[in-house]
Amino acid sequence: MDSPAHRLALPACLESLGEFRRFIREGAASCGITGAQVDRLDLVMEEILVNVARYAYVPNTGTAEVAYWQSSPGRLRVEVSDQGHPFDPFQADPPDLTRSLADRPIGGLGVFLVRTVVQSVAYRREDGRNVLSFEFPGNG
């Protein structure tokens, strides 16, 4: 049985990252997620929110919303949403991790890290919103 969701909506910009981090850390603590796992959750949230801040509303601005609830004991379900341009971050090809230093592309690692660290990550477009959802902790 899912618990009620906690929600926080803030301007979609880098300056909101700190407040979103405090918010999701409260969720992690309430769920008994501690220590190194909290850093991994921070990482995933930053990667997702930076993408929203940079791309969702270009050239305008808008809001990012984070919602979380405990999906099962010790486990968070998180949704990050925006009302920006339709964009599925998982449609891009994964980065080629085998290239040499000179040929290694600079971008694409954020989405890769999200996929690697969390479980059941999914994108959906719903009522004019991009919604990215995942479960944490993953298996790693």
Binding site: L14, E46, F112, L113
Partner: protein, 110 residues
């Protein structure tokens, strides 16, 4: 994040502590570029006090290493642990940098 630089004969040692995230990762890149403009070819990043790095930080490390390589030079990583080590391993960036336990070991190879 705090960056403390020390000049050695063959390299500049940059001790990076705290969190390297989207808001401050460019500061690391700028610090490295300033030393490169002053002629440094080898930069040693001492990272045992680095608590967190996201993909924005990885971009900075990668970008600096790519600029140093043709000089020829290098960005050497020391003391990686915890989440930063995991992130370098997950992305397989770890294999693209010279990696040592301590700056002393790194300096001995130059």
């Amino acid at each position: 994040m705090n960056i403390e630089a020390t000049e050695h004969e063959k390299a500049v040692l940059l001790k990076v502590t705290g969190r390297m995230d989207a808001e401050n990762a460019p500061q690391f890149e700028h610090a490295c570029e300033q030393w490169m403009r002053r002629g440094a070819k080898h930069l040693i990043a001492e990272l045992d006090g680095l608590e967190y790095v996201s993909s924005m930080g990885l971009r900075s490390f990668l970008s600096v290493a790519q600029k140093l390589q043709p000089l020829p030079g290098s960005l050497i990583l020391c003391g990686l642990k915890g989440l930063p080590l995991q992130v370098f391993e997950m992305t397989r960036l770890i294999g693209l940098f010279p990696v040592f336990e301590t700056p002393g070991q790194a300096l001995a190879t130059l």
